[in-house]
């Protein structure tokens, strides 16, 4: 109650299974008294490309464009583009970040990767010696909630697609942990397109149930052992 949640959502279709998961999260968390903000990336036509347009006004070095340096400098002088400042404000205010998306190619869809690339700039999310447990977004929680095309059996250690945790390393450790954000257990709905209507309903109910006690959960130990042990 009173907690602030930002849901960054990457699906084109409100009637999709991802759309249902989003709706459940908004309803359940609001019911708990949380303040919920949604960044609906496709609906916002969110720009995933990291370009010179992200910097308002002059460049630090216009001879050779370096995105990392330019956004860092622009952040410091308040010179990032309006869409980035707005997203950063939402992140800053949030106690919990939920990422809701369908897994595309063992990873998040490009539009969501673009949100990570452009919003989490140096100076805002991390800094020279401020990374991992010292990252600038300390005190926040994150949760990756996604659907897969493949079945759970395909994502086991001995199966061809390997343990699903292998896929989580770049997202959870490489991005969230790097920024100092604690990571809750991921929420994975396997192959909702290939299961029965009954099974789909069970998956939706499981998400509602999990959200009811979400604030009591302990973050995972985001170290190689969790992913590769």
């Amino acid at each position: 109650p009173g907690k602030k949640v930002l849901i960054v959502y990457a699906h084109q279709e409100p009637k999709s299974f991802n759309g249902s998961l989003l709706k459940i999260a908004v309803e359940e968390l609001s019911k708990q008294g949380c303040s919920v903000t949604v960044s609906d990336l496709y609906a916002m036509h969110f720009e995933p490309r990291a370009t010179r347009n992200d910097i308002v006004g002059h460049l630090h070095n216009s001879e050779a464009f370096n995105y990392g340096v330019e956004t860092w400098e622009a952040y410091k002088r308040g010179g990032l583009s309006k869409d980035l400042i707005e997203e950063q404000k939402k992140v800053q205010e949030a106690d919990l970040l939920i990422f809701q998306f369908p897994l595309f190619w063992f990873n998040m869809p490009a539009i969501l990767k673009g949100w990570m690339d452009r919003v989490l700039v140096q100076g805002f999310a991390y800094d020279l010696s401020k990374a991992y447990d010292g990252g600038l977004l300390q005190g926040k929680l994150s949760l990756f909630s996604f659907t897969t095309g493949g079945s759970q059996e395909m994502y086991s250690k001995e199966a061809i697609s390997g343990d699903i945790r292998y896929i989580l390393w770049p997202m959870q450790h490489g991005i969230m942990h790097f920024c100092g954000v604690k990571v809750l257990e991921p929420h994975i709905c396997y192959a909702p397109e290939n299961v029965s209507e009954e099974k789909r309903k069970e998956m939706l109910t499981a998400w509602t149930q999990r959200l009811k006690t979400l604030w009591k959960e302990e973050p995972i130990d985001c170290s190689p052992d969790w992913y590769f042990k």
Copy 2:
């Protein structure tokens, strides 16, 4: 000689270190008699967002938009957008795909992820039971060539960022291997922005040298052992 190479390049600045690596690859491979095509994603303003715009004409199911189903159906009837058909043609003709990019957040930049998401659609790159060694792009080679911000020491098994191979799993195995493409050893230039001019020159020379004997290389064994052993 006579081989066809597609370089998918994702950097905004031709004068960057990635730009130099691209230039070297184009020159060296052309010198060998290869035919080299470059998809310069930022220069092309390549669209990374997977949307309804990728399908020309009617939708298979306009009630609820499903990107995977719609692009599969559109592919079969030749109804994908022009930019995708052009990229698919380049892929189809290539013997070798080189991806040249700076590592962003333990992964490729969003613009390149968008290329993967949109170009490698079902029916073209894989199909129902045609994945991994049975993928539809069999007979091709791929090579991920990228720069990092962090040093080589930071990407070791015992260090905080973990083995660099952990990061390669989703890209090399989850995308290329999934499509039936063999994977050559990655080419990694660590922290070019933080080393001496001399060291940078050495890295460029090493790339030229590697390219001279590239066609004699054996693909890696793209299984969990290579990544997590």
